[in-house]
């Protein structure tokens, strides 16, 4: 972690850092730590979703008034300036549209990753720089390190393996990494809660957020409503009606209720039976078919990912040996990554891996270091 001593060696003016404050315990402690280290801290909460009454339907709560209240109270406690910025428009375009479109084209999108990539590290970072901030800080459990030899910023796993969020950060560019501080990278969640107690923050006991912030209870009905609401705007992805459930040979086994209601590897709620348990193998949006089969067929030898992005290296010239994580909680599997055309990569697993899910990210690690990653295409 960057320390104040090294930062302040040439000037008496403390470095300014904008902390993205969600009202949760992590970002609150991040702000408190930076304040204690002597930074000139400004807290900012992003208002991302319209939760007020009005013409728009109320889908759920993201950065709800309660969270804004908590963030503001923490900022008051720390005696730092605090602002709420309105990024609803950017959020709805970059995250919500992406999320809904992803499901409508048969993928399982990852809105949190997208929110980091666009909202936090593009839109909010720009806003922070406009406020003359030297850095932007977030409460992610991850670490940034500058490697003198490679002349590159490296992204590393958080020290708390159970909380490590580096998976959600693989899109970060060198420029972004040079402006980012993750104050919690060397801490465990237990440390963080203890610190919150120590600083007397009212969010010390607040429970972690789990669900998708803008669609808290039930994402399929959110998608149906949202896609329905924007149907008039000529959006390229439309809500398809119910269709067939088929096996790998094309035999019709039953009917699905709309493809966006299913994810790869899902077993429950399919409503079809055959001697053995059946799993969702493929979501075929083109033919509006849900392909199911036995567990064995869920395994694949590899995947193709698009929009590959590299952090620890400029670009791989030859196949790389990595640990690949294909979803957030995935422990990782040994794999070989080979570059293809169009910024795509082919990933071959050491042994077949279950439930490769298009729309999720595959992130490549070497030890603690995030080498790069891409978005799973197939």
């Amino acid at each position: 972690m960057k320390t104040v001593n090294s930062l302040q060696s040439f000037t008496n003016k403390p470095k300014r850092v904008v902390v993205a404050m969600s009202g949760g315990v992590d970002s609150s402690v991040a702000a408190a730590l930076l304040r204690e280290q002597g930074y000139d801290v400004i807290g900012i909460s992003m208002q991302l979703w319209d939760y007020t009454e009005g013409e728009r339907d109320r889908f759920g709560s993201c950065c709800s008034l309660d969270d804004l209240y908590d963030a503001r109270r923490v900022a008051d406690k720390l005696n730092i300036p605090f602002y709420v910025v309105n990024f609803e428009e950017a959020f709805s375009k970059a995250v919500v549209d992406y999320f809904v479109d992803g499901y409508l084209k048969g993928e399982t999108p990852n809105p949190c990753l997208k929110c980091n990539q666009i909202l936090k590290f593009e839109v909010l970072l720009k806003r922070a720089l406009e406020l003359d901030a030297d850095f932007l800080a977030t409460g992610h459990y991850s670490r940034v390190k500058y490697d003198e030899k490679r002349k590159r910023y490296l992204l590393l796993r958080g020290k708390d393996a159970s909380k490590d969020q580096s998976y959600f950060l693989f899109t970060m560019t060198q420029k972004q990494l040079s402006k980012i501080i993750f104050p919690l990278g060397d801490l465990t969640k237990i440390d963080v809660r203890r610190l919150a107690q120590k600083y007397g923050l009212n969010v010390a006991e607040k429970k972690d957020s789990q669900e998708i912030c803008f669609a808290p209870e039930d994402y399929p009905s959110f998608i149906a409503k949202y896609a329905g609401n924007r149907a008039d705007n000529g959006s390229s992805y439309k809500l398809e009606p119910a269709g067939e459930i088929v096996d790998l040979n094309g035999n019709i086994l039953g009917a699905h209720k709309g493809l966006y209601k299913y994810t790869i590897g899902q077993r429950k709620g399919l409503g079809v039976t055959r001697g053995e348990p059946l799993y969702v193998l493929k979501i075929d949006a083109k033919n509006n078919q849900l392909v199911v089969g036995p567990e064995d067929d869920l395994f694949s030898k590899g995947l193709i990912a698009k929009e590959a992005h590299w952090i620890g290296i400029p670009f791989p010239d030859s196949p790389l040996d990595v640990i690949a994580r294909i979803r957030y909680r995935h422990k990782g599997i040994e794999a070989k990554v080979a570059p293809l055309d169009d910024n795509r990569v082919e990933v071959r697993f050491e042994r077949p891996e279950k439930s490769v899910t298009p729309g999720q990210a595959v992130v490549f690690y070497k030890g603690d270091e995030v080498i790069g990653g891409g978005w799973i295409e197939k």
Binding site: V85, E122, E130
Partner: protein
């Protein structure tokens, strides 16, 4: 750090004379004005006096003033109370797209409960087309509610003409004059106004008190049922201190208006000329002449308004863009959108609303501080260099991402 307050359309500081006037009613004079005994008698008297002062400012009778708790309550009472009392005569309401949320949201709510609402457009200077208003009138129109002056741009609507049109058609005319009362002369008789809303904290009285003018003969169904206060039109024990304060504020406004208009106009013009002169691509939003004297709404294209405000705040300057909302966020302005102001100009707008305490030094400080802020932000905007390099018509929407 300097502290400069240029957000008087959001709220004003309490005038020292107002503060002194209300203080006894927060201390010793606590009686319930409805009581028959000595404790109530004096508070009843000062409420009557306050009512006279408000009436004098608006040129109406004392019996035509109802005290409320705020501007929003006043708007709700005037609009809902009126349409309910005239429900058997029709169900059509005419308003504009640029009203304050207290009117806009109320009208949208009524639209859900069986009323038809016409939302009139404004032109690119924020002005109203009276022909459009005339065309919108139907035999079922029972209420025209159009604001006196816009809170964001300061633009004053042609109230006298609207009043005349309403009268010709026998339609009740309500005006939300929260931004007009105390800033410019308002004569409800001359302007043919039937209902008018005002709010204390926009004219140097504290928050928590407002009033509506209800022309004699106009029937309102109360929002708050209760005791017989305010001639049975607004139940609830009177906020004596607040009402006394509002009365005093109206008295002062009446007394000082001429000189305040001169003072504010001079400062506002100095600010506008200075900013336009020092900052390229700065543009005034709203009609340049038909405005209340204290408001300047300016777009600094290719700089994010929200960022400008935060930067100004860090320099001790309080300004705003659009209307303040409960969570402290900034909404995209529905007023500028309705005026057809482009996306980037609307996102780069800042509203300066001056008040009685402001000085030439305040204005000059802003003129010193703001140009470098805008310049810094433009230097970070790729769109600005593209635009100043010749590609003049670039906009956020065309470039595919609204990068604010």
């Amino acid at each position: 750090m300097k502290r400069i307050y240029f957000d008087n359309n959001a709220t004003t500081p309490i005038h020292p004379e107002v503060f002194d006037a209300m203080l006894p009613y927060l201390k010793d004079e606590f009686g319930n004005p409805s009581s028959i005994h000595w404790a109530g008698r004096n508070t009843r008297k000062v409420i009557d006096e306050a009512r006279e002062k408000v009436a004098r400012l608006l040129n109406c009778d004392v019996g035509e003033i109802i005290f409320t708790s705020c501007g929003s309550e006043g708007d709700n009472l005037a609009i809902k109370g009126l349409v309910e009392s005239k429900r058997d005569k029709g169900n059509h309401i005419i308003t504009t797209k640029v009203e304050h949320p207290a009117v806009l949201t109320t009208c949208k709510y009524l639209a859900k409960t069986g009323f038809d609402v016409t939302f009139l457009d404004v032109d690119n200077q924020g002005m109203l087309d009276l022909d459009q208003l005339k065309k919108a009138i139907t035999p079922k129109t029972i209420l025209i509610t159009i604001m006196f002056a816009n809170n964001e741009t300061g633009v004053i609507f042609p109230i006298e003409e609207i009043g005349r049109i309403a009268k010709e058609h026998n339609i009740t005319f309500h005006t939300d004059a929260v931004q007009g009362v105390g800033k410019v002369p308002i004569d409800v008789k001359k302007l043919n106004i039937d209902l008018l809303t005002l709010s204390g904290h926009k004219l140097y009285a504290p928050k928590g008190v407002g009033a509506i003018y209800v022309k004699r003969g106009v029937r309102l169904v109360p929002l708050i049922h209760g005791g017989h206060q305010e001639r049975n039109r607004r139940g609830g024990t009177e906020n004596t201190a607040g009402i006394v304060a509002l009365g005093k504020a109206c008295e002062i406004a009446h007394r000082d208006m001429e000189q305040e208009i001169k003072h504010l106009t001079a400062l506002r013009d100095r600010l506008e000329k200075g900013l336009m002169g020092k900052i390229p691509h700065a543009r005034l939003n709203g009609h340049p002449k038909n405005r209340i004297p204290n408001t300047a709404n300016i777009s600094f294209e290719f700089a994010e308004g929200e960022s400008i405000l935060l930067n100004l705040d860090m320099k001790g300057i309080a300004a705003s863009s659009g209307s303040a909302c409960t969570s402290g966020t900034l909404e995209p302005s529905h007023v500028l959108v309705a005026m057809g102001v482009s996306m980037e100009a609307s996102h780069s707008s800042v509203r300066f609303s001056l008040g009685r305490g402001n000085t030439v030094e305040d204005v000059d400080y802003v003129l010193e501080v703001l140009p470098p802020i805008v310049e810094k932000m433009r230097s970070m905007s790729p769109l600005y260099s593209a635009a100043t390099g010749g590609a003049a018509n670039i906009s956020f929407t065309e470039s595919g991402s609204c990068s604010h």
